[in-house]
Every structure is written in C-alpha cells, then in structure tokens.
C-alpha cells in the first residue's frame, strides 16, 4: 500500500482555505502575543523565545503538509504500534526525562524539549477511532473493555509524571468518542457514575499543588498571593481590557509582570487585556470556524474510522480551548493546558498541526 495518497508535492487545499487562513491568523496572533508578553516596560527581553516559536511555526506547517499527504488509513493499520511506541516513550521519560518545575515530562530532541505526553493525545485518538469504528453492540470486550484498558494505562502513566491536564483529556476522549460508538451508552454512563464514586479516593492521590489548585479554584481569595494569585490577576487582566482593550504592548497587567506564565498557559489573558472583548470574541470565532469545518468533514468522511478520527480531532481542540480559556477566566480549575496554536511551546503546536494534517488528508479523500 502506498502511504502517500497522492504525489508528495501536491499542495491541494481545495475546500480547506478557511482553515488555512484561520491557522495563519492564529500564527500571527500567537507571535504578536508572545512578543507582547515578553515585552516589559519598553524593553524586549527574551528574543530567542520568539525566534524559537517562529521555528516551531515553520516546522508545524511542514508537518501539516507532510501529514496531509500521508494516507490516513495507515494509522488504522499501525494503531497498536503507535500506541506501543508512545507507551515506551512515556515510560522512558519517567527514567531518562528532564525534570522541569517538579514535573518529569520532557525529553530533549535536537536541542528542543519535547513532551511525549503530547504524542499520547494522537495515539489515544488513533486507538479509539480504530476500536470504536469496529465496535458492535455485542462486542463489549473489543469495543469497550479493551479501549478502556488501553486508555486507563496510558492516562495513568501520564498522571504519574504528573500531567493532570493531559491525563484528563485522554479520559475525556474515551467517553466522548464512546458516545458515538455502537456500544450501549449505559456502559459509559455507568463508568462515569463509578468514577464519581471513587473520585474522593483519587483526590487523595493528587499532588499537593494539584489539590491546592482545585481548592483555590473554588475560592481564589483563599490564597491571593499563592495559588489564587494567577486566577485573580488573570481575571483582572481580562476584565480590565473592557470593550476594545488597552492596545498592543499596552496591557499593564502584562507589561508590569502581574501575570504568571503569560506566554504559555495564560496567553489568553494577554489577548483579553490588550485586545479587549472584541479581540477575545474574534479569537473564539476563529476557533469556532475551524471546529465547524472539522465536524462537517466528520459527516462526509469516507469511512467510520475517518469519522471517528475527525470527531476526535475536534474534541481534542475543543477540550483544550474550553478548559484553557475557562481557567484564565476562573470558571475552571487551573490544570495547565496550553491554548492550542497560541501558547508558546513546540510540542502542542506540532501535535495540533499533525492532527490538522491528518484531517486535511481525510477531507481530501472524502466523498
């Protein structure tokens, strides 16, 4: 089987112009926001961070084009292999990985840090798409139990790192994709009920800083200088943007360093403060356009594996967007998920681009 569905050089983006334009806008917005967040009191300090991100954006476009030209069916065939490799990488990271801020998540590739847990997100989508597309109401072992075991094992390894956000995303993917399968829904509902029952026990196994984040999420004023600080300052930043924002490079919360992690997880606050309600709404609409396009494709896909794959990609995007923006607005706990296509960082950008590339391939082979 030829893994390249067409010629490698083909750059046929027919019907995908909207997504490409949206993606370009997001790339520009990302660079602008990272530039602004590193810009302090008239000085631009960490130039190389911006340069790195430019490199990542180029790499991510290359990856998108490459994956757009790889026949997606290959993932169906290689599902177990990809899953296995991913698990090996994750376990490898536990022993050989780099530890940053108390979490052992990174391995170094070509001088750039990469998080294998990001790869898990792709692996999870592939393995779930394969299982669920083959599922039948009676094949409980193959359609329900087996994917459950795969996912739980994967999530557990990530949770140990610890990376609560990614572990949660993978579990979410299992349930939300499961609802689209032929497996009776009562199994999933039953499992959720069981999960809620044992959750108090699981809470005890959270790291202290994770527990604190959850508590502070309930009431940020509990610890205004510690864990609640991020949420309070982020709310102030976004709120103070008002309708039109304070203008590029003029956000005081941003420029005077009141926002933590503002070029990574909290990048939305920079946009909220400097571009206001109009800018924030614009960003949300861009994301909405991308998601709409992916869901349309899910309905028109050539086979069920492709359909599940599209749903998985859209869910992956939606979880990241909703949880990230929700946490900067203080309506969801701070779980440390990046804002797709905007936050600084190569891993998540690369993964999102690869997923988009796969999606491009699916849509080009659609009916």
């Amino acid at each position: 089987m030829n893994i390249f569905s067409r010629k490698f050089t083909s750059l046929d983006f027919k019907g995908l112009k909207t997504i490409c334009v949206c993606l370009l806008i997001l790339n520009i917005l990302s660079l602008a926001s990272i530039y602004s967040s590193l810009h302090q009191a008239g000085q631009f300090a960490e130039r190389e961070v911006l340069y790195k991100q430019i490199v990542w954006i180029i790499v991510s476009w290359l990856a998108l084009i490459i994956f757009a030209n790889i026949n997606y069916r290959i993932y169906f065939d290689l599902a177990y292999l990809i899953y296995g490799l991913n698990l090996i990488l994750l376990i490898g990271v536990m022993f050989f990985g780099k530890s940053v801020m108390g979490a052992q998540r990174w391995i170094e590739i070509f001088g750039m840090n990469f998080q294998p847990s990001e790869l898990s997100k792709i692996a999870a989508i592939i393995i779930l798409a394969r299982f669920f597309s083959l599922s039948s109401p009676r094949g409980l072992v193959y359609g329900f139990l087996l994917p459950l075991i795969f996912i739980v094992l994967n999530a557990l390894v990530i949770f140990i790192q610890p990376d609560l956000g990614t572990a949660l995303i993978i579990v979410f993917l299992f349930f939300s994709l499961g609802f689209f399968s032929r497996i009776p829904k009562r199994f999933f509902i039953g499992l959720i009920a069981l999960g809620l029952l044992v959750s108090p026990f699981l809470l005890n196994h959270l790291k202290d800083y994770q527990k604190r984040r959850l508590l502070v999420f309930m009431n940020p004023n509990l610890d205004p200088l510690g864990a609640g600080y991020s949420i309070i300052q982020s709310k102030i930043a976004v709120g103070s943007g008002k309708l039109a924002g304070k203008g590029f490079l003029s956000g005081t919360q941003n420029q005077f360093n009141f926002l933590p992690e503002r070029h990574t997880d909290f990048i939305f606050t920079v946009i909220g403060e400097e571009w206001g309600f109009i800018g924030s709404l614009f960003l949300i609409i861009i994301y909405w356009l991308i998601l709409k396009k992916i869901l349309q494709q899910a309905q028109r896909a050539r086979d069920e594996f492709a359909s599940f794959f599209c749903l998985g990609i859209s869910l992956f995007f939606f979880f990241h967007l909703f949880i990230n923006i929700g946490m900067t607005l203080g309506i969801l706990p701070v779980v440390g998920l990046p804002l797709i296509f905007l936050s600084y960082g190569g891993s998540n950008l690369l993964i999102a681009s690869i997923l988009l590339g796969i999606f491009f391939n699916i849509s080009r082979t659609a009916r």
């Binding site: 009191a41 709310k235 709120g239 919360q253 005077f256 009141f258 309600f277 709404l281 709409k292």
Partner: protein, 575 residues
C-alpha cells in the same frame, strides 16, 4: 424528565449534536467574557490600575509656632535616618543588617525590629536606624553606598522642652488614630497635633503632603515615574505667649504643684500659662520615657490651669461683693461686726481671726469671712448662683486649648435634683466664701477677677495672635453691665488688700505697681489649696494674674510666688 434525558443520551450521537455542544461552550465563554469585560470592565480596569500605580508620600513641613517676640518655640528640624528599600536587599538582608549593626553600633535586634515596624511596602524606603546625626549618616552612606538610603525628614522640636509643654502639646503620627483621622484626609504617617496649640491649630499647622506617582511591577520594582506633587508647608502661627515670661513663671513656681497664668486684661491674650508638674514634649517625638509620663501619679499631662477645677475659697469674695452691691443689699459703707464666729442656729462658722467692725473695703482687704457670711444670708442663694454664672464660673472660658473643664456653680434646684436634699442656710454660708460645691479652674477665676481690671468685661482668654502673619481676630469680650460705682468699690477693696499693711497680699506692695488682688485658701479633703488672683498696671497696660498652688497649705505661698514672678519680670524688663 429523566426519561427524556435518557432518550437523548441513548439516541444516536451525530456530529450535528456535537456542533451544538461546541457552540454552547463558546457562547458560555463569550458570556463570561462579556460579564468581565463589558459589565464589570470598569471595576477590573480600576483594579489593574491599583496594581501598578503607587503613591510614595512626601512628608510636608509643619508650620512653626512663634511666641509674641518672634521666638520660635516649636518648629521642624531635619533628622537623618538610614533606610533600606526592601526589594533591593531582599536576598542580602541578613548580611547587610549584620554589617550595618557592626558599623553603626545599633544592635541587630533593633534593626530587625525597626525594619518590621516601619515596613510599608516593597518599594518604599524603610527606616532601620533612626535619628542619626548628619556626619554619621554620611559615613554609613559612604560605606554601604547603594544598599542603604539616607532619609531626611522633618521632625518636630521644642527648644523650651518642659516649660511650654502644656501650651504647645506635641505631635504624633496619625496612624495611631487613623480610623478617625482618615476622614479628614490624614495619611498614616502624617503628623497630627496632640494637646495644646498643636492640636487646636492643627488645621493651619499641618501642611499638605506631597507624593510621587510611580509605576511598579508585580515585585514592586519601580518601572516608571509619572509625576510629583511637592509637599506644602503648613502655616506659621504666632502666640500671645512670651517665652521669657513663661520661663520666669516656671522658675517662680519652682517644684510646687499648681498653675500660674498671666493675661493681658484688655484683650485676654495669655502671656504665660504654666502648669506643674509637666512633661517634655520632645520625649513624645522620640518615643522615649513616655510610659513614665503616663504612669506618673502627679499627672504631668494634666494642665492644672484649665483642665481641672478646684474649690476656689476667698477668691470668690469679690464676686459676692459685686452681687450684694448690684442687688442693692449693701453700700460700700455697710458694716458687720466680726467676732471671729458666725452663728447660724446651733452651728458656728469661723473666721480666721477676730476682725471687729468691717466695711466692704476692710472686709475684702482682710478677707473677713463673717462679713461675707452676712452678705450670703442677706442675698440668699439665688442671686449668688446668678452672679457666679455671670462671672463665667459655670461655663467654659473658651480658651483656644483642648479639653477645657468647665467650672461648677451650685444652685438650690441642682441640689434638690442631684443630691436629693434641700438647700440649707449652711450651704449659703459656705457658698458665700467660695467653699462647698463651687468649683472652678484657675483660668476661670482669673477671668472673673479680670472683670474688675478692665472695667466690667468678661474676656475670652486666648493664645493665638497671628496665623500666617494675619491677626487672628479671636479677641472678644462681653460687658457684664455692672455699674462703674460698684466696680470701683470692689476694686478699692482689692487694692487695699495689697496697699494696707494688714492686707492679705501686702507683700506685693513692694513691687511698686498699682496692684489689686485677692487671696484664697480653699479647704478641701487634703491640705488647703493656695490661691492668689489680681491685676496691676505697668507702663499704662493692665495685666491680670492668677497663681494656684494645689494643696499649698495657705494663700501666702501663692502670693509669694506671684511676688517673685513679677519681680523677675519687672527687673528683666520683660513686659
């Protein structure tokens, strides 16, 4: 409802449904954004401003206080202190403090304590060594260069220390009373006047604090300078007090517990107001020895000249005489025989000697009790109450000093209402010679005596002369409507108390002034209080004086002090 939910859940899921879920999610986010940015936008905008805009206050100079000769008696002088800026020394604090302690000689504990006490914010200087002299401050600055700052700030200084304490009061940082004061626009470190002139004229003396508006980042580092408002100095004020006369009063009073007041008879301007025991207001500035002042059983903070009232004894007699004359009950020639005792029913009220036949002049000159017992019986209590009130003994004098205590004049109704007892003739007898329930402050007594000195006016005693070189215009007086003839009669009696060899205050005749006055020995639960109040003319101006010696035994002490005081004032040409 549950069935409905179950049908939805168990029905087939389509991407169309998911689309609606996503749209719902985004609408929720947009709604929350609308809430924060549009509805609560102004609130968060203000909070963002509060985050990065800070004001560093700049202390203002307080107005100086001058005496009537232009001598500064309270003023701000610069003091130097060594401070640190917390964010600059964050990591090196322990080492720096140890080195500073070694170099300056202050203990490490003191430094740590001051640091904690004076800490305001991360970016404003914190005093750690206070009140160092200029040379030492510069030496420390040279040694530690950028890690310390030399802070100059104005500090109140009272060159006369003790002697003018009761007149001036002192100042204190507003933070101790911040809850009340913040409504008047005080900042926590601004100095506010406590007691004395410092308190009464605080609104003029206090300047307007300035400030620097700066931008800071989340760690308090100064990122930008937006503007500066320079502090404004408060207004200078000039008092009627003469610090030289005040010093003379102080040394005349010596170690006696009591008060001495000298006042201009015509306009009520106070030249000296002395109360003992006293305190050093500079202690309150430096914060040293304060507890000793508060714990002193002699109550040095109490101004005995006007914040306390006492039985006034015979100094009440001129008022009695005026009442009897004005009510038409006697003439100056009316005489009563003093056998050393006055009988009322079975009770006997004593005089301090046997005076024989006494007319008004003689009775005032000798301070004959029996004469005034008789006046009391003729008058009855009501006119006495009335006249004591007219002379201001049951009201405030209105002096421009805080916490004045009003005198007290009893009456028949008062006794019935408060003591639940009828007014006995014996009460009237006691009342007639200023004993019993009657109480007044030395200042109030002096003001009553002053009515005879200035031709029948009740003045308002005051200390302020000028505010910012503009006349205060505070001087007011009320005419009591006493006939000139009667005034003259009482004046004559008071003159004879000094003039006659057997007059109660005859030693004052040695001063060679036209002096009139009245002594008083006021009985109380302890040793009697000694009183003297009178007036004299010197170089065409009339002055009224009052000397009060708490538990001084007899009036002779008070007269003696008045004598030595005025002797020194005249000899040194102070008036």
């Amino acid at each position: 409802m549950f069935r409905n939910f179950f049908r939805i859940v168990s029905g087939s899921f389509s991407p169309e449904l998911l689309k609606r879920v996503y749209l719902g999610g985004f609408l929720v986010l947009a709604g929350v954004l609308f809430w924060y940015q549009i509805i609560r936008g102004d609130y968060y905008f203000q909070r963002a401003k509060n985050n990065y805009l800070k004001v560093i206050p700049l202390a203002s100079m307080r107005g100086a206080i001058f005496d009537r000769n232009g001598q500064a008696i309270a003023y701000d002088r610069p003091v130097f202190s060594i401070g640190v800026i917390p964010y600059q020394i964050e990591s090196s604090r322990e080492g720096l403090f140890a080195a500073l302690s070694e170099f300056s000689g202050s203990s490490l504990k003191t430094l740590d304590k001051s640091y904690r006490k004076n800490f305001q914010s991360y970016f404003s200087p914190v005093d750690i060594i206070t009140d160092v002299d200029k040379a030492k401050a510069l030496a420390i600055k040279e040694k530690f260069s950028d890690s310390v700052v030399v802070i100059t700030r104005p500090q109140r200084y009272y060159p006369n220390s003790y002697q003018l304490a009761h007149v001036l009061g002192y100042v204190k940082e507003a933070k101790a009373f911040y809850q009340e004061l913040k409504n008047y626009g005080y900042s926590p470190l601004e100095r506010v006047g406590i007691n004395g002139v410092e308190q009464v004229y605080d609104a003029y003396l206090r300047g307007a604090e300035g400030g620097k508006l700066i931008e800071v980042d989340s760690r308090g580092r100064i990122m930008g300078f937006l503007g500066e408002q320079l502090p404004q100095k408060g207004k200078d004020i000039t008092l009627t007090v003469d610090s030289r006369i005040q010093l003379a009063a102080d040394s005349a009073l010596g170690q006696q517990k009591g008060a001495l007041i000298l006042m201009d008879s015509q306009d009520g301007g106070i030249l000296a107001l002395c109360s003992k025991p006293y305190f050093n207001p500079n202690d309150f500035i430096s914060g040293k020895n304060i507890q000793a002042v508060f714990n002193d059983p002699g109550s040095p903070l109490l101004n005995r000249a006007y914040q306390a009232t006492f039985p006034i004894g015979s100094t009440f007699k001129p008022i009695m005489a005026t009442a009897a004359l004005e009510e038409g009950k006697i003439t100056p020639a009316s005489s009563f025989n003093c056998s050393g005792e006055f009988h009322l029913g079975r009770a006997a009220f004593r005089c301090w000697t046997i005076h024989g036949i006494q007319n008004l002049y003689e009775a005032l000159a000798h301070s004959c009790n029996v004469y005034f017992y008789n006046l009391g019986m003729i008058l009855g209590p009501e006119p006495i109450t009335d006249w004591a009130g007219k002379f201001g003994l049951n009201s405030l004098t209105g002096i421009d000093l805080p916490s004045e205590k009003s005198g007290f004049v009893p009456s028949r109704q008062w006794k019935q209402k408060e003591i639940k007892s009828v007014w006995y003739p014996g009460d009237t007898v006691n009342f007639s010679i200023g004993q019993g329930y009657l109480l007044a402050s030395p200042l109030a007594i002096m003001r009553a005596m002053n009515v005879f000195a200035n031709g029948g006016y009740l003045v308002r005693p005051h200390l302020i002369k000028e505010i910012d070189s503009i006349d205060s215009g505070i001087s007011t007086r009320a005419y009591l409507g006493i006939s000139e003839k009667n005034l003259q009669a009482v004046r004559q009696g008071l003159r004879e108390a000094v003039l006659r060899d057997d007059g109660s205050a005859h030693i004052l005749q040695r001063l060679n002034l036209k002096f009139s006055g009245k002594t008083g020995t006021a009985q109380n639960s302890g040793k009697a209080h000694g009183w003297f109040t009178g007036f004299f003319t010197y170089q065409d101006k009339t002055y009224t004086i009052c000397v009060f010696i708490e538990h001084g035994g007899a009036s002779y002490e008070a007269v003696k002090i008045a004598y030595y005081f005025l002797k020194s004032v005249i000899e040194n040409n102070l008036l």
